[in-house]
């Protein structure tokens, strides 16, 4: 307590606050940003390695195809997400119906599934992998198509969440106003709401695109199950396939290409969506009317729901069919890997919260200022970079890819901090922005010092968002494969363990599935426990 009092007293000094914020910024830059993109410097320092690859046209063709696969899949998936996600976002925000809460929760579930698990589940559902006894639909045998189907699942919730977030902020009176002026709902949405929607599209597209680009574990498992892990590559699986050994030219090259292309593309997306002028001058009152009433809107909603159930929910849960055939498994190793996973995720999230809140508060409270804008963009960088490339970059920065033991665990934690930190910061920034600064300001004028103002006024109000951000980051960390493998092959987290089981061949599939189910169960228990705690709090506050 006395420590709190002492810190509280010095928090009144502007110099102390500046020093603290400076420290946070320094940590952010030195631990998160620079290591994430460090690999790019290798282009200059180890040009020899790269020029060797450039000369190898066979290798270059593989790399080129891998990069193309990654980007084109991400592109297709994002478009599908927008089209199918918009109606659902709409329903979630603007409509009130029984079961809305249920739908809301259902939508979040794929986020709690480690992607490696999803890879397993999806291939089982759509395809008919060799050596799997559970019957699947058996209609999809193209690895490319399979990856699209897989990536939709874990990007879709991000898209719906970003779209509905923006939709909530758009004044519903705009649409009503347009309708009182004689516009049908279709016309009103097309001419007024959608043009105001661009910010949401940018966020949603960025998140989905980045998520699809980075995904490693699920992709790798899907390819392995289909038996083409060494003939069909995406950027991340290529890196993973080459990792674990000495620093190699192809690895660096593809990482750099992925990082640079991702950054360039996202700048482009932002520019295109923001400056794209869709001419909405033409209207077709009759068509608008037909599309606004009766069958058309219902069909659209039904289709969107159908898409969500068939392409997102059912494939994710298909794995649970394995419960009908319980199998023996190595509980010791599983428990060990669960321990590792929780250690990594726990430490990373704790770090994120402690050093994320100050940054989030700064960004939220200085909107429109230059420095805050720069920080805001910087925070997103680790999110955009494919995690495998990020992992490699990190390992290089902290000294080599072949570390073992405690050092390796620390490095893995640092890696996980990099890609979970943006999630936490984004969530908290959003929450702080919604809190009227008048609360804190009033507390200050009532004689509170800055630290007390935070602990007694702001924090209780944003608590639930902090927890939500923490859950998101925690599950994201639990599910990550690519970065972990790229940093060290000796840290055996649950997804890594599952991937390794799958690598062992068809005989180990049931064990992998059981591991997945156990992991999912733990995630759910955790999520519901936290939700229950939050709910009890919010019943009083709401």
């Amino acid at each position: 307590m006395s420590l709190f009092v002492r810190i509280n007293a010095i928090s009144d000094s502007a110099k102390v606050r500046k020093a603290w914020f400076g420290l946070v910024c320094a940590i952010f830059i030195c631990i998160i940003i620079v290591p994430s993109v460090f690999v790019v410097t290798k282009v200059f320092t180890d040009w020899g390695l790269i020029s060797g690859v450039l000369g190898d046209s066979a290798e270059m063709a593989v790399i080129g195809r891998a990069v193309w696969n990654s980007f084109s899949i991400a592109f297709i998936v994002t478009i599908l997400d927008v089209v199918a996600g918009l109606p659902i976002a709409w329903i979630l925000v603007r409509k009130n119906f029984r079961g809305k809460r249920f739908l809301d929760t259902l939508l979040d579930m794929p986020l709690a599934f480690p992607t490696a698990v999803l890879g397993l589940s999806v291939v089982m559902f759509w395809g008919a992998p060799e050596g799997v006894t559970i019957p699947g639909l058996g209609i999809c045998f193209s690895p490319y198509l399979m990856l699209v189907l897989l990536h939709i699942i874990f990007t879709y919730p991000y898209m719906v969440r970003s779209l509905s977030g923006i939709l909530e902020q758009i004044e519903p009176n705009y649409e009503t106003a347009a309708m009182t002026l004689g516009a049908s709902r279709f016309t009103a949405v097309r001419t007024i709401t959608l043009p105001l929607f661009r910010a949401g599209l940018v966020t949603g597209t960025t998140l989905c695109f980045a998520r699809s680009l980075s995904e490693t574990g699920g992709t790798y498992i899907a390819l392995t199950l289909m038996g083409c892990e060494s003939s069909f590559f995406t950027g991340p699986t290529y890196i993973m396939d080459n990792s674990g050994g000495a620093l190699s030219g192809p690895m660096i090259l593809i990482s750099v290409i992925m990082i640079l292309l991702a950054l360039a593309l996202l700048v482009l997306v932002k520019a295109v969506i923001t400056h794209l002028h869709v001419s909405g001058n033409r209207v077709w009152p009759e068509l608008g009317r037909k599309l606004s009433r009766g069958f058309a809107p219902k069909a659209k909603d039904a289709l969107a729901l159908f898409f969500m159930v068939l392409f997102v929910l059912v494939p994710s849960f298909y794995l649970f069919v394995y419960l009908s055939e319980p199998t023996a498994m190595d509980y010791g190793t599983l428990l060990g890997s669960i321990g590792t996973s929780f250690l990594v995720a726990g430490v990373a999230v704790l770090f994120d919260i402690v050093f994320g809140i100050p940054l989030a508060m700064y960004i939220a409270r200085h909107r429109g200022e230059r420095f805050a804008g720069i920080l805001d963009n910087l925070v997103n960088i680790p999110l955009i970079i494919p995690t495998t490339a990020l992992g490699l970059s990190l390992a290089l920065f902290w000294g080599g890819t072949a570390s073992t033991g405690a050092v390796a665990v620390v490095l893995v934690i640092l890696g996980h901090i990099s890609f979970t930190y943006p999630l936490v910061v984004r969530n908290i920034t959003g929450a702080v922005e919604e809190v009227d600064p008048a609360y804190e300001e009033t507390a200050l004028t009532l004689g509170a010092k800055p630290l007390e103002t935070f602990s007694k006024v702001l924090f209780p109000v944003i608590k639930s968002s902090v927890i939500a951000g923490a859950i998101l980051a925690f599950t994201r960390s639990l599910g990550e494969t690519g970065a972990t493998v790229a940093i060290s092959s000796s840290v055996n987290t649950v997804p890594v363990y599952i991937v390794n089981l799958v690598k062992e061949g068809a005989a180990s599939y049931p064990a992998a599935a059981m591991c997945s189910i156990v992991l999912i169960a733990i995630c759910f228990v955790l999520m519901f426990a936290v939700r229950a705690v939050m709910h009890r709090g919010s019943d009083r506050d709401a």
Partner: protein
């Protein structure tokens, strides 16, 4: 000819709560009707039902005798002006006003000409090319009114159109709105919680409270001859004194014994001797005299052309009256004798829920 609006036993329920309870009302052609009431009285719900934004739980809305209850919002052809203005931020002022004609696919020249005509009407034509964000609140609301009128609607709904504006701008704009709609001869329903605004713009005021119509009448009637204590209190300021009927004067005026034994005379009424009553008398009808109700001055406030004097009478009631700005005002602590203009008083039965409950504003 502007249309006539008829509400036939409208109710609107949210869960178990009646926001609007069994309201029937006729709005004549070209009439300017204000729906007045405190926050949460259901006034906004009512015009949202009339304009079709919400569908009533029970009852019908008729326009010129035709049932439009099931006609969707976009086909009702009613202009609607929002409290938060809601101009489309992505369109210029001109494009905002053009929006109604545009979604009806009028010929482009006609869209432009109509929009310019209405912008001119609200004196905003010189701001046509700007975006709403570049205008002040009052200017934005003028553009919003032009937008609501431009599609040629003969009915205009004003949903607290002035609440978001500065007091002084509010005062100017309310006169301007009245001038514009009367010029166009359209039917207006205006929702507000501001009794001053309601009084100065409307042909008729509908006073609502707790989902029901409490009183209705022209501003003059409702001010001079309110039908309830709440109406007297809410519309304009008034002094309320509790007492018992003690008899009648020769002319049939009511004699009321106030607390403390002082007897005053008030307007005729139909009570019996001994009934508990409340007298309502407006500050401008209270004067000082050589003899009357003793009162002690609590505060004196300068109001421009007059002083408002607040006193506590010997009966324990608070009494306010006005003194001309040209005359010397009393000072706090002074003793004054007060009399009423008998003809301008009203006598009400003392409400069962107590005076406080009867005039509660929230």
């Amino acid at each position: 000819m502007a249309p006539k609006i008829t509400l036939d036993h409208i109710s609107m329920k949210f869960g178990d709560f009646y926001a609007v309870h069994d309201i029937s009302l006729d709005v004549e052609e070209g009439e300017y009707v204000t729906i007045l009431g405190p926050s949460g009285c259901g006034k906004t719900t009512l015009i949202k039902v009339i304009s079709g934004i919400w569908h009533p739980t029970e009852g019908r809305v008729l326009i010129d005798g035709e049932d439009v209850t099931d006609v969707p919002l976009e086909d009702r052809d009613m202009g609607y002006v929002f409290q938060n203005i809601a101009l489309f931020p992505n369109l210029t002022n001109l494009a905002n006003v053009e929006y109604g004609p545009r979604v009806r696919a009028w010929p482009p020249e006609e869209q432009r000409a109509t929009a310019e005509k209405y912008l001119k009407l609200v004196a905003m034509l010189d701001r046509a090319g700007m975006f709403p964000g570049e205008l002040s609140g009052g200017e934005q609301q003028k553009v919003a009114i032009a937008r609501a009128l431009a599609s040629g609607s003969k009915i205009l709904m004003l949903d607290e159109p002035l609440s978001a504006l500065d007091a002084r701008v509010r005062m100017e704009l309310r006169y301007e709105i009245r001038r514009i709609v009367k010029e166009l001869g359209i039917t207006v329903l205006h929702v507000t919680h501001d009794q001053e605004e309601a009084m100065s713009v409307s042909d008729r005021i509908v006073l609502m409270r707790a989902g029901r119509v409490h009183d209705t009448g022209a501003p003059l009637d409702i001010y001079r001859n309110p039908q309830s204590i709440f109406a007297a209190y809410f519309i304009g300021e008034t002094n309320l004194l509790e007492g018992y009927v003690s008899g009648w004067t020769k002319n049939g005026r009511t004699k009321v014994r106030l607390r403390g034994g002082h007897t005053v005379r008030a307007e005729k009424s139909a009570f019996a001797t001994g009934d508990a009553v409340v007298i309502s008398v407006r500050p401008e009808n209270v004067y000082t005299a050589d003899d009357g109700l003793k009162a002690k001055v609590v505060s004196v406030v300068f109001m421009g052309t007059f002083w408002r004097v607040r006193t506590v009478a010997e009966t324990g009631d608070y009494l306010e009256y006005n003194v001309s700005g040209n005359h010397a005002a009393p000072r706090p602590g002074d003793q004054v004798m007060l009399v009423f203009n008998k003809r301008m008083t009203k006598v009400f039965a003392r409400p069962a829920e107590g005076l406080e409950g009867a005039i509660s504003l929230e």
